[in-house]
Amino acid sequence: MTQLPQTTARKLGLVIDLDTCVGCHACVISCKGWNTENYGAPLSDTDPYGADPSGTFLNRVHSYEVQPEQGTAQLIHFPKSCLHCEDAPCVTVCPTGASYKRVEDGIVLVNESDCIGCGLCAWACPYGAREMDAVEKVMKKCTLCVDRIYNENLPEVDREPACVRTCPSNARHFGDFADPDSNVSKLVAERGGIDLMPEQGTKPVNKYLPPRPKDTLSEGAGDIDILAPYLEPVAQEAKGFLGWLDKTLEKL
């Protein structure tokens, strides 16, 4: 129903590691594949072989350049799907009750047979996590693969979202944020996981791990010997070098 549950028993969601995501789009396509064949209507594509192809995707990978005050620019790949917000504005705006947040695990879903396709929930979502399907005319969004994570027809290891299962660089993690000992809670604690747009007050469940500091190798002041303590020359010339080699060999 469109009112949000007071609390949910579990808070299932994803951790996305911006330090390791290589921007390969594997998660985008496996999500498209799974969700085209499974939950609800297929994710359609219009003009798929034409001038203006456009399709429904539940997960998209952006990329950003970050220019630090000092040093070279960095490039960050940035996957984004529904964050399964605790205070999900997309749910409360829904006039039909099609959008709802599950009490048992906090997954935000669209009940497609109730959806009138008004688009309001997509307007309400600050993250662009909802897309209206152009063919089916119902709202589509990340289901957190609700039809995988409990699916008894899948082997237990496979009961995780398609995007997590496929991510080659292990930049996506799935788990229960209500449990402080879960893999995701620990990662967030260790790596300082953050919320996107905290000021929007949506309390996203999904967290992002910020990139680690970059380009640190040549930083620091001082002369080169301090910088490169392991490069103290054993010899400046070939002769001296070979002498050193002799001595070293003798020790072996």
């Binding site: 390969c24 594997a26 392991y230 490069l231 072996l252």
Partner: protein, 936 residues
């Protein structure tokens, strides 16, 4: 709360069929979920050694590849002029009869009139077997324009290469340095590896003018000036040697650093290694002070030895290296400006390498015995690893640069040790156990041996008796003596020019040669359509096999339509490019998990039939009947050597591995096992492989070689010196005079660096233009995929901030880009994390109108573009009356990344320039919407 009741356990599929992905050469295992016999979903196979369950975007989009409207439907015979795309569908009988009619007389009179070249397929041991039986010397796959520098440099230096033939020890490495890689063949494993080591907090350094993908997640990014990696690496070597941060013990034991180099300037052996009568390299034993073959029991080779004989001093390779690399020519200060990396940064990196290699060194408590019989209680770990690909190899100095990188790895003692770089079976194996090239043509009979291989001196070149090139691509000639993979990129231009000779039929498989795999794309189209004075095509006949309506289809006279990868048998064999891991030998199959719904046939099966029709030995039984019913039959029943066939697993009664009799149930066994087979290397045998007796014995048992083949790494590559000697006038086989100086200069047996930029007119064209592979696209095929083409539907040209400003450009503006060879006008976008004199775009996104069943106004054709129009297979004229090839002078590798350009702002045209005429689609156009769901 009143939530809808969900079915949380819907049925996933009727059946899972496990096979191997084909969307790139990584060859991941896939689970194909079927509903009602149709492909419903594709995911990674968790048990598979390559991908362990993960799958990339291309692999997951396989479903859209298999249903693509661009799939060819039936054999086609050209009815319009070449290049028009006008075809008539014919039956397979007609197609095969036509091919036989064309090829039979050639084989009888002069098999070299057939040029058979294949693209990036994974059945080269089979296609080469076919070509060899046909008798033509003109066979190769795509390696020559791809990354032969990398492959050849690795094999000549250390008996194995990066490419997909080795991998970092992901579990132990603590510093991983990546040179010039955007994606590579080992796509998923590299990503998995990077994920793994980053989770451990290990450092990744990316050396690349462009900071995307792997380089974006690298902890440190070195935005090097393209083409200067060799100089940078030699400077690292300089720093490390100078500081004594090298693994002396490793160098002495396992490399030819301690081999003695003939110092007799007057002799024809000057610069060659001293050898005993049996041809074994000699070292000075520190224990005895005597010259002795390197592999004797208990020998302790002396790195710094000199050997005086007849008044001549012979010094070790190490001496030569010290002389060369300690020179201040390689000091960071001396190379900083040219490489675009500050001296301080070069030192910082050398320092970090030294720190990790020697301060963070560790040992594994695993005992092993080396080839000299010495048993080591532990394995010494050097947790620094490297990987590299086309960024350093696709330059005209690529071979030497790749060599430099291997020398760096070797002086650190980080190859085949814990934490370092490790080979995957069937590697390591010394260059000397590879075949040599064969080119002896006999009408009506097979060639005298395999086409491709490794030369060890002028005697091994593929020259005719008159000294002219034996092969149409001029591989293994003085122009590029060590062209181990052939030169596919030269075939069309040489055939067109009739130089070294004319051919009759060009037979190609799976290579989009009139488009993205050629340099000088427009020129190639002209060559393919050019007619002689009689009005006949200069290249008289072209047969081509493709699965899709690619740009190349329009240029063939006869099209043999292939199946898609889910509809046929394939074999990823240890005889070829297998799927092994550093810890295991492994191979795999593909099998028809669905049936084709069109009149198409697997190309390899077609070759089995065509081979039989042509009566090729190897393809017919004694009674003249067809030997292999199809490729599946070949995979099971073909025998290369007694007990060895295409697949290593489940041989004999199903329990034999590597060697064993034919097992008629072998394919079923593979299917049962998930489409692959793995044999793990026992612990204790899995490091130090070139020298480890346990590994050598295991490899012999597996059939990888017939006897143990321990060898030394070649810091000094002696065969190169042999070519120099020839150029200096020694020996009977002499290079043409115009090549002497170049051979002397470039074939240095120790790595050197030279600058390819001046040959590319860098003064007038100061910007380097590069391409990168997008992770979600495979060359030209991705664009027919409805899902993938939404990710990369066109390719902007990315410009560094400096060039955007200088040219007064903002995102979405257009620029005219001019190279010495041509020009193109394309949309631009700014990128800050980019070397400031480099521009780039994604590779092979631009499409020809009419191809791939796309609309004529598809963005791939209107905004997309190919940089290939600007690249020529020949360098701009130097004024010496010659046109030199735009390739590495040692291997012939196409120098894609030496492209120099200049640019200026342009008024936006309607579409990217140059515009090519549309071709007529032989398959029609795709549907207007897609809602692909096969289950109800």
């Amino acid at each position: 709360m009143n939530q809808p009741k969900l079915d949380l356990s819907p049925k996933v599929s009727d059946e899972i069929r496990k096979t191997t992905c084909y969307m790139c050469a990584c060859r991941c295992g896939i689970n194909v979920h079927l509903k009602d016999g149709k492909v419903a979903y594709i995911e990674g196979n968790r048990d598979h050694p390559v991908n362990k369950g993960v799958l990339c975007a291309k692999g997951s989009a396989g479903i859209m590849q298999v249903n693509a409207p661009s799939r060819l439907q039936a054999p086609l015979k050209r009815v319009g002029p070449r290049g028009s795309g006008e075809f008539q569908e014919i039956s397979w009988d007609e197609a095969l009869n036509l091919a036989t009619e064309w090829l039979e007389p050639i084989r009888k009179d002069d098999p070299s009139k057939l040029a058979f070249f294949t693209g990036r397929d994974q059945s080269q041991s089979f296609t080469s077997f076919w070509a060899q039986n046909f008798g033509t010397p003109n066979y190769a796959a795509h390696g020559g324009f791809c990354s032969v520098n990398m492959a050849a440099a690795g094999i000549y230096t250390m008996g194995g290469a990066f490419w997909e033939f080795g991998q970092p020890d992901w579990d132990h490495t603590k510093l991983f340095m990546l040179f010039g890689v955007a994606e590579d063949h080992d796509s998923n494993p590299i990503k998995m590896g990077i994920g793994k080591i980053k989770a451990r907090g290990a450092r990744v350094i990316g050396v690349n003018p462009i900071r995307t993908g792997y380089n974006a997640v690298a902890d440190d990014w070195i935005g090097i000036t393209p083409g200067t990696d060799g100089l940078f690496i030699l400077s690292l070597i300089h720093c490390l040697m100078k500081a004594g941060k090298i693994d002396v013990d490793y160098l002495a034991r396992y490399t030819n650093a301690s081999c003695l180099v003939n110092g007799d300037e007057g002799s024809a052996e000057f610069g060659l290694l001293l050898r005993d009568d049996a041809g074994k390299e000699l070292v000075m034993d520190r224990a005895t002070g005597k010259l002795t073959p390197f592999d004797q029991k208990g020998v302790k080779p002396d790195l710094t030895a000199t050997h005086e004989a007849d008044g001549i001093t012979h010094r070790t390779v190490m001496h030569h290296m010290a002389d060369r690399y300690l020179s201040n020519d390689y000091a960071p200060e001396a190379v900083a400006e040219r490489t675009g990396i500050s001296a301080r940064r070069i030192r910082a990196i050398a320092n970090e390498i030294a720190r990790v290699a020697f301060e963070e060194a560790f040992e594994l408590d695993v005992e092993w015995t080396d080839f000299r019989g010495e048993t080591h209680a532990k394995m010494q770990g050097r947790p620094v690893s490297f990987h590299s690909m086309r960024g350093i190899s696709a330059h005209a100095n690529g071979f030497q640069t790749c060599r430099a990188l291997h020398v760096l790895q070797i002086i650190l003692g980080s190859v085949e040790v814990p934490g370092g770089f490790r080979f995957k079976p069937p590697y390591p194996k010394p260059a000397t156990v590879h075949p040599k090239p064969h080119c002896k043509v006999t009408p009506g009979a097979p060639l005298d041996g395999p086409h491709l291989g490794f030369v060890h001196g002028p005697d091994d070149l593929a020259l005719k008796d008159d000294g002219s090139p034996a092969r149409i691509d001029k591989a293994f000639t003085w122009e590029n003596p060590m062209s181990a993979h052939g030169l596919m990129h030269m075939v069309i231009s040489n055939a067109h020019a009739g130089d070294p000779y004319k051919i009759d039929t060009l037979f190609m498989y799976m290579a989009n040669m009139s488009w993205n795999s050629s340099m000088n794309t427009g020129g190639v189209m002209e060559m393919l359509t050019d007619k002689d004075e009689n009005g006949d095509y200069v290249i008289p006949r072209i047969i081509y096999s493709d699965a899709y309506s690619s740009e190349m289809v329009a240029y063939a006279d006869l099209i043999l339509p292939d199946t898609t990868y889910l509809e046929r048998h394939d074999c990823i064999s240890l005889l070829d490019r297998p799927i092994c891991e550093a810890d295991a030998a492994a191979d795999a199959i593909r099998w028809p998990v669905i049936e084709p719904d069109r009149d198409v046939r697997g190309f390899q099966s077609v070759l089995c039939e065509l081979g039989a029709k042509l009566n090729l030995p190897g393809f017919v039984n004694e009674d003249g009947s067809q030997k292999y019913a199809d490729y599946g039959d070949y995979i099971v029943n073909h025998i290369r050597k007694p007990g060895i066939g295409p697949l290593a697993g489940f041989r004999g009664d199903g329990t034999k591995t590597g060697r064993g009799d034919v097992n008629p149930d072998q394919l079923d066994k593979y299917i049962e096992n998930g489409g692959f087979f793995v044999e793990h290397i026992p612990e204790g045998a899995n490091y130090y492989k070139p020298w480890n007796t346990a590994y050598q014995d295991w490899a012999v048992g597996m059939g990888l070689f017939d006897s143990p083949q321990p060898y030394l790494f070649s810091l000094y590559v002696e065969p190169m010196r042999k070519f120099q000697l020839a150029a200096e006038g020694h020996g009977d086989r002499q290079p043409p005079d115009h090549l002497r100086e170049r051979i002397k200069a470039t074939m240095d047996p120790l790595p050197i660096w030279y600058d390819p930029a001046p040959d590319n007119k860098v003064d007038d064209f100061p910007i380097t233009a590069l391409t990168q592979r997008p992770m979600a696209m495979y060359h030209s095929w991705g664009s027919q995929n409805a899902w993938l083409r939404q990710l990369h539907g066109h390719n902007p040209l990315y410009l560094p901030t400096k060039l955007m400003k200088e040219n007064n450009l903002t995102d979405g503006d257009w620029a005219k880009v001019t190279s010495p060879h041509g020009e193109t006008t394309v949309p631009v976008m700014e990128m800050a994390a980019l070397n400031e004199n480099t521009i780039w775009t994604w590779n092979a996104i631009g499409k020809r109108k009419g191809a791939w069943a796309l609309d004529n106004d598809a963005p791939e054709a209107t905004r997309g573009f190919l940089l290939n129009h600007l690249i020529h297979e020949l360098l701009p004229p130097k004024g010496d009356g010659l046109r030199w090839a735009n390739s590495d002078p040692i291997t012939g590798q196409a120098a894609w990344f030496d492209l120099k350009v200049r640019l200026e702002k342009a008024t936006a045209p309607n579409e990217s320039q140059p515009v090519m005429q549309p071709i007529k689609s032989p398959v029609g156009q795709g549907p207007e919407t897609l809602s692909w769901k096969v289950g109800k």
